[in-house]
């Protein structure tokens, strides 16, 4: 079990790549939509935050597995 911590670290890094990519694309789309129609900026901002929290939830699933691995 000597590679457990290494596995946890690599897993966490890979997970963060996916999560950051997803939220980055989401933020880009939100910025573009707000620029096109500034009156809808409030609605777009709310939806963006909701979607970001959901994407972050997924990346935290993998983080929990990394915690379990790092404890071994």
């Amino acid at each position: 079990m000597e590679f457990a911590s290494l596995a946890a670290g690599i897993g966490a890094g890979l997970t963060i790549i996916g999560g950051a990519l997803g939220i980055g694309k989401l933020a880009a789309a939100a910025m573009e939509a707000s620029g096109r129609q500034p009156e809808a900026a409030g609605t777009i901002r709310t939806s963006m935050i909701i979607a970001a929290a959901l994407i972050e939830g997924i990346s935290l699933f993998a983080l929990v597995i990394c915690f379990i691995l790092a404890g071994k």
Partner: protein, 280 residues
């Protein structure tokens, strides 16, 4: 006569008996424990109970859950009493009316639609309980009870029960299960769709539990990891970098506390709406 090797052995054994790896220190502060930790000042040991072999001793998270529930009851009873005298709130009641109207107009009404009043008490309770729990954890020397997987799983099970009973009451027991599978699906795909929908029924509340637990735990672990950098580097000058970073993450934690309460309540409302009004 005590020579240098014996002092060395004594010093080594002392160091080994107190040493722990860095992650032990972090986990020891984030996880549940049997004592209330006000560390340099006091340590309050909590009683140990066992019932039929199950450990139901009072732990840190239990004490803070009681505190959160007590706070919630006191605040909400005061707010409810203030509405008896006049319908226009002021001051204290006005502040809580902000949140209550927010839950009703932005979470319950858009997601559930018609008949949302029946589910409003549950959604309000879930929102404020999680909110109080998350914010209690931000006070120094306290513990976050929403970072305990047992608490979040229980809340997810409660949401699951409200979703199923809400759906079954509106559509009938058989009608609810029939409405899970969408219309116009080819007969050959039907068994697969049934399996997928059943897994979806169970996985959605599971995701609710894990999302809240992981968000709360991860935030605290990041703050502790940053502070333990000071001990790893063993120099005071690092505090100029560590303390601002830890404060920034603390600010992020305040935002995450609000956001996670909102997300839990909104997703519960969404699932209730999908179960109650099953026309796709």
């Amino acid at each position: 006569m005590v020579d240098s090797t014996t002092t060395q052995i004594a010093a080594d054994s002392l160091k080994n008996s107190h040493s722990e790896s860095g992650s032990d220190w972090i986990l020891h502060h984030v996880m549940d424990g049997n004592y209330l930790d006000f560390s340099p000042f006091a340590k309050i040991y909590l009683p140990h109970f066992e019932l039929f072999g199950l450990d139901i001793s009072i732990t840190r998270h239990v004490v803070f859950m009681w505190l959160g529930a007590l706070l919630l009851a006191i605040v909400m009873m005061r707010v409810a009493k203030a509405y008896k005298s006049s319908l226009i709130p002021k001051g204290f009641t006005n502040f809580w009316e902000l949140f209550i109207v927010f839950v009703r107009d932005e979470i319950a009404k858009p997601t559930i639609g018609k008949g949302f009043e029946k589910f409003l008490p549950y959604l309000l309770t879930a929102f404020f309980f999680i909110l109080f729990g998350n914010f209690l954890g931000l006070i120094p020397f306290s513990a976050t009870f929403t970072s305990n997987i047992a608490v979040t799983t229980t809340m997810a099970v409660l949401s699951f029960l409200v979703i199923q009973f809400g759906g079954m009451r509106n559509n009938g027991v058989w009608g609810y299960f029939k409405g899970l599978v969408p219309h116009g699906v080819p007969i050959l795909l039907l068994p697969l769709m049934v399996i997928v929908e059943f897994i979806g029924l169970l996985s959605k509340p599971f995701a609710l539990a894990i999302r809240l637990f992981a968000n709360m735990t991860a935030g605290h672990i990041v703050i502790y990891a940053l502070i333990s950098l000071l001990f790893v580097m063993q120099s005071y000058y690092w505090a100029g970098l560590v303390v601002p970073m830890a404060l920034f993450i603390y600010g992020l934690e305040v935002l995450v506390a609000l956001l996670q309460a909102y997300i839990f309540t909104m997703l519960s409302g969404l699932f209730i709406g999908m179960a109650v009004h099953q026309d796709h």
